[in-house]
């Protein structure tokens, strides 16, 4: 029998103060499970970047996390504007965040690159005007 834990989070749009709440909860859950520190860090960073992206670009979204015995799967879905050029968005330092967001210290163009860097598998589905769905997983070594 394989165990799995499913967690669901709603990320509100336009509220920076609440970004990080979901990744914080996942982090706490993983720590209690005794998952390796490295895997926890990867999940926390990738997911936090995803939350911030949802707030900056998509007016919020929803995150589903599934913890299994060998990996942590995350699905981050939003109904935002979609990404026009994915390969450009994946480039470090490229950002479409407006100036007011950058002045808060966000929008450094590291969101998607970091999500990819810290995950073991990374898929992106996006359609202009419809939204973006990211599927990430981090292996538990």
């Amino acid at each position: 029998m394989s165990e799995s834990i499913k967690l669901h989070y709603v990320v509100p749009g336009d509220d920076f103060t609440r970004a990080g709440a979901a990744s914080g909860d996942v982090k706490r859950t993983l720590k209690q499970l005794g998952i390796s520190p490295n895997a926890i860090r990867n999940v926390a960073i990738a997911m936090y970047e995803g939350e911030i992206n949802m707030v900056i670009h998509a007016g919020g979204g929803e995150i589903d996390v599934e913890i299994t015995e060998d990996k942590i799967n995350m699905v981050l879905a939003d109904q935002g504007p979609g990404i026009a050029d994915v390969s450009l968005a994946m480039k470090e330092g490229y950002s479409t965040a407006p100036d007011n967001i950058r002045s808060l210290g966000f929008g450094a163009g590291m969101g998607l690159p970091n999500m990819k860097k810290y995950s073991d598998s990374f898929e992106i589905e996006t359609e202009l005007g419809v939204g973006t769905t990211l599927k990430l997983s981090v292996n538990i070594e």
């Binding site: 165990e3 799995s4 834990i5 914080g24 860090r41 960073i45 015995e69």
Partner: protein, 442 residues
């Protein structure tokens, strides 16, 4: 597992079983059972927050008394720099240091002196690439214990150097043996401490096997006698003992240790909640542009210790004034050989206190159950069940320490009359007149 030593204890007779302490504990280590608080030993970090909030004064710190010094032929006092902030109109710390000698100590070595060696050693280490940055200070023992329990990922960032008091003990002992010819065990070394966590660290050290400090006396306990002795001192009686400067004495308050590194890329946070927030961000690698992080569990740093006498802000202001007439620093290390003397000898290990089970599959099964129970609880975190939050109760239930029926409000879900419940949980509307008045005003 070896029994964990704690300096923070509960006086069962004074405890009335209120729930003030459970919510303030940063590691959720307290429960109320049978009308008494209960401290879960392996989660307690001896920070003393519960001592601060207990209205019955049922939480206390076990510290050494001055009488303990009679066990030794020769006694040394190691005053924390926070002690200097406790006195009105003090202009010369030698009054305090001479006052300690009048209390019966044969020798006084300032912890701020040792702190200057640690500052100097840290500066030397920061220049090399041997440390994982941002480096986290190890001076506050409650922070080190908090990291072991809640942030084990950050253990590699801990500064691998002794806390100043331990190095002060080493300097003092070596000098005393040389001066007197006495044996090591004939010499008693006592820290004059602002907090219980420091005493815990001496009895149960992390990063080294045995402390050279024999006991810790609370500043508040020694204060009345010390003031009396200081008042009796004439100017010509005052000995010249002070051998530390702005950097060493600065360790008394938050930011002092970091400032002693003479670098800009640092952060200093104080107060347990702020410390936790910084550690969360650090863990998510959001603070990677910093070189050094100084964290103190008490507000304003050690001057805010729960065993001090004076308001931390007043103490901090007084120390600022005292420092004005001091040299920048009186002590530093010269080479890597000396650095070795200040380095921790053992690794700090993570504590599994919050883990649900050793086996991941079992832990996952328990976590699924925990989430299910948590969802069924009302989410009010009222504390009536004796746990600090609904989540903590769910955690206790899956570990077998509590039952779902411990929640008063889960009974509510069974339906029925709510009149027997306390006001916040009753399905009754506030007096209509009051409501109307409010509306008129609004």
């Amino acid at each position: 597992m070896a029994k964990i030593f704690h300096s923070v204890r509960l006086d069962d007779e004074k405890c009335v079983g209120c729930t003030n302490c459970i919510k303030r504990c940063p590691t959720e280590a307290i429960r109320v059972r049978n009308k008494k608080a209960y401290i879960i030993s392996d989660r307690c970090i001896d920070c003393g927050e519960c001592i601060r909030v207990c209205p019955q004064h049922a939480k206390y710190a076990v510290m050494e008394r001055l009488e303990e010094t009679t066990k030794y032929k020769y006694n040394i006092a190691l005053p924390a720099p926070a002690l200097y902030g406790q006195f009105n109109n003090l202009e010369n710390v030698d009054y305090v240091l001479t006052g300690l000698k009048r209390l019966g100590f044969d020798k006084v070595v300032e912890v701020s002196k040792a702190a200057e060696y640690i500052s100097s050693a840290t500066r030397m280490m920061m220049e090399t690439d041997t440390l994982k940055k941002p480096v986290i200070s190890t001076a506050c023992p409650a922070v080190v214990r908090l990291i072991r329990i809640r942030f084990p990922n950050l253990i590699p960032n801990l500064l691998p150097l002794f806390a100043p008091v331990d190095f002060a003990a080493r300097i003092a002992r070596e000098e005393a043996i040389k001066e007197t010819g006495l044996k090591d065990e004939e010499i008693g070394v006592f820290f004059i401490s602002p907090c219980p966590a420091k005493r815990t660290a001496l009895k149960n050290p992390l990063g080294y096997s045995k402390s050279g400090v024999d006991g810790a006396i609370a500043i508040k306990d020694i204060y009345p006698q010390l003031v009396q002795n200081m008042d009796k001192l004439k100017l010509e009686d005052v000995e010249v003992i002070n051998d530390s400067g702005i950097i060493g004495v600065g360790w008394a308050s938050s930011g002092g240790e970091a400032a002693g590194l003479l670098k800009e890329r640092y952060l200093a946070a104080d107060g347990i909640r702020n410390v936790i927030n910084v550690l969360e961000e650090l863990e998510d690698e959001k603070l990677n542009d910093l070189d050094f992080i100084e964290l103190n569990c008490c507000t304003s740093g050690c001057v805010g210790g729960v065993l001090t006498v004076e308001n931390p802000f007043v103490a901090k202001a007084r120390i600022q004034r005292l420092r004005k007439f001091m040299p920048v620093s009186c002590n530093s290390i010269r080479n890597e050989y000396e650095l070795e003397e200040l380095s921790l000898t053992e690794e700090v290990t993570p504590s599994p206190a919050l883990k649900l089970a050793d086996n991941v599959v079992k832990a996952m099964r328990m976590m699924s159950e925990l989430k299910k129970i948590e969802a069924s609880l009302p989410g009010l975190d009222c504390g009536i069940c004796g746990a600090p939050s609904c989540r903590a109760l769910a955690d206790d239930i899956v570990r077998g320490y509590a039952e779902e029926t411990d929640c008063v409000l889960s009974k509510l879900q069974l339906g029925g009359n709510t009149d027997w419940l306390p006001a916040p949980f009753r399905s009754k509307v506030i007096n209509e007149e009051v409501g109307e008045e409010k509306n008129d005003e609004g």
